[in-house]
């Protein structure tokens, strides 16, 4: 058994630095590369892509990345765990096989495919069986929004990933796998941890939580001493060096920018945190109040003492459903009296929308430069504020009303307060809104499938 396993984070979200995973495989020694591509909103986007084109519905960026790093991964025996499969894991795996053929690497490795998370085709079966699927926040039942559902995915944990790795997969692709499982599974596979070693499972989960947002734990978006964090242009993404006893060090490759220290790790630990005593994943209930941190040298933080409790009998389900339309547009007003001009424009626009009889659920005006981030806490702006951006948004059930609004912004340039600019982007775009319906479903109802294919 290895005494140290290195899991590197290559992608904190779909759209993160394209160079980061390449730097991770080439900048030093790693054993695993974990790549997180899915946010809640992503599942409904990929579901729509698949409806238009049955071959789509996964993160194409992942395939481009494999074209770049597959030779490195094969040569150095680096394994990859990724939730890049979206709602078309097979399509994603096939695309990687094509890449392998193009590169002359076909036959040199195995791909693990994990499915079963996409329960959109099974929703009616569950409803017919009388399975209670209720919104965790509001108590609303699924039947009330069933006709508007766009995607429905269970968050799968580390178990199927471990199975794929145990069966020799080098690249493991799934759909809605939890971010934390992508890091935990390699450690379970290497160290033989099982779903009885709750403290270790919790440790691997917290390791995953720390690195799942990529550079956000190695100096990115870090408030502590941000002015002095070196060379963010070349930020090194985080790497976990884990030991069989569950202790681990968070670090990054030598000769990279950014900073890993106790403060950067603390900030990331608290990111999107709920009750710290019960951080619930499909794998474990981890206790963040048990975490100990210790400085372990430059850009190294040791994490130890973690405790966990047995996992629950439920999976979390994320259901996205259509909930109307929205559009947001902006205009910029300049000194003198920039704020007063923007306020006057807002008033005129509201009068015109009312005259048109348009129906909206919400109208929101923000004045960027004055109150868009800190609201009233920011106080009154200085009298001589050089410019203010009027940001005006509407949301409603009627698409045509929202579209009509988008045509009312540009006319303000010639028919409203003076010294206005910033309209070069054209009319605002009307977007469909996806609302979220988080729920729990018994694990016993979900059938997870692990397939290994040659590539």
């Amino acid at each position: 058994m290895k005494q140290i396993v290195r899991v590197a984070s290559g992608q904190g979200f779909w759209g993160d630095l394209l160079s980061a995973p390449i730097d991770q495989v080439r900048g030093g020694q790693i054993d695993y590369l974990m790549l997180d591509y899915l946010a809640e909103v992503t599942m409904s986007i990929v579901q729509k892509q698949k409806q238009r084109d049955p071959n789509a519905g996964y993160a194409r960026d992942f395939v481009s990345l494999m074209r770049e790093i597959l030779p490195d991964c094969i040569e150095k025996n680096i394994k990859v765990t990724a939730n890049a499969g979206g709602v078309n894991v097979k399509g994603c795996a096939d695309a990687v096989r094509e890449v392998a053929k193009d590169l002359g690497l076909f036959g040199k490795f195995k791909i693990g495919m994990i499915t079963g998370d996409d329960i959109l085709p099974r929703l009616d079966e569950f409803l017919d069986k009388g399975v209670a699927i209720k919104n965790m926040d509001t108590g609303e039942s699924l039947a009330e929004i069933r006709d508007k559902v766009q995607s429905a995915n269970v968050y799968l944990g580390a178990q199927p990933l471990v199975e794929a790795l145990d069966k020799g997969a080098q690249i493991v692709i799934g759909g809605r796998l939890t971010d934390t499982g992508l890091t935990l599974a390699p450690l379970m596979h290497e160290f033989g941890w099982t779903f009885e070693d709750w403290d270790k499972i919790a440790a691997g989960t917290i390791a995953g939580h720390i690195i799942e947002c990529g550079g956000q734990c190695s100096g990115g978006n870090c408030q502590f001493d941000w002015e002095n964090i070196p060379d963010l242009a070349n930020i090194g993404f985080p790497i976990v060096e884990a030991a069989p006893n569950g202790e681990f060090v968070v670090t990054k490759h030598a000769n990279t920018g950014g900073r890993v220290n106790i403060q950067s790790i603390k900030e990331q630990l608290l990111y999107e945190m709920g009750d710290p005593k019960s951080y619930i994943t499909p794998d474990v209930v981890a206790d963040f109040t048990s975490i100990n941190l210790k400085d372990d040298g430059e850009n190294r933080v040791k994490v130890f003492g973690i405790r966990g409790n047995p996992n629950t009998d439920f999976y979390k389900v994320s259901i996205a459903y259509s909930a109307g339309w929205k559009a947001v547009g902006t205009l910029v007003y300049s000194y003198p009296n920039a704020f007063e001009k923007a306020q006057a424009a807002d008033k005129i626009l509201r009068q015109r929308l009312e005259k048109l009889g348009l129906q909206f659920d919400v109208i929101l005006t923000e004045f960027v430069g004055v109150n868009a981030t800190h609201g009233h806490l920011a106080g009154a702006p200085p009298k001589d504020i050089p410019e203010v951006q009027l940001r005006f948004g509407v949301r409603g059930q009627n698409k045509s009303d929202v579209e009509r609004f988008t045509k009312e912004l540009a006319p303000l340039i010639l028919t409203g307060p003076p010294s206005v600019t910033g309209f070069a982007g054209g009319r605002p775009k009307t977007e469909e809104i996806m609302a979220y319906f988080p729920a729990l479903i018994p694990k016993s109802l979900i059938e997870t499938k692990v397939e290994i294919i040659e590539a």
């Binding site: 603390k266 709920g274 929205k326 609201g375 009233h376 806490l377 809104i433 609302a435």
Partner: protein, 114 residues
């Protein structure tokens, strides 16, 4: 005397649906008891006023010398429903650090924040 929380803590915030979370971390370990005493659910509620429509929950992490706050109904519906610039609550961290903390001169001197 009054001092701004930003002299005592750093923070990070994020979202879960329509709830923002703010993790507040003592800049020095010895500041933590002061944070526990002064940065209460009630004071945070009062600080944010209309920006937070729901309740405020606070959790203590003495191991990290940190507090975690959940600000319910603060993101205009959250996710893609929200029209706000900061629909993900990323800047609620610095908004909370604007809070003024009451501290007597002796204590301020002892903690080195005068």
């Amino acid at each position: 005397m009054k001092i701004e929380l930003t002299k005592l803590a750093h923070a990070r915030s994020g979202d879960k649906g329509d709830t923002a979370n703010v993790g507040v971390i003592a800049l020095k370990d010895e500041f933590y008891p002061l944070l526990v005493r002064e940065v209460t659910e009630e004071r945070v509620k009062e600080h944010f006023g209309a920006m937070v429509k729901g309740k405020i929950e606070r959790f203590e992490l003495p191991n990290l010398n940190a507090l975690n706050f959940l600000l319910h109904e603060s993101l205009g519906g959250g996710g893609t429903l929200s029209l706000m610039t900061d629909a993900q609550g990323k800047t609620f961290s610095t908004a909370l650090l604007r809070m003024k903390i009451e501290i007597d001169d002796d204590e301020a001197k002892k903690l080195g924040v005068l």
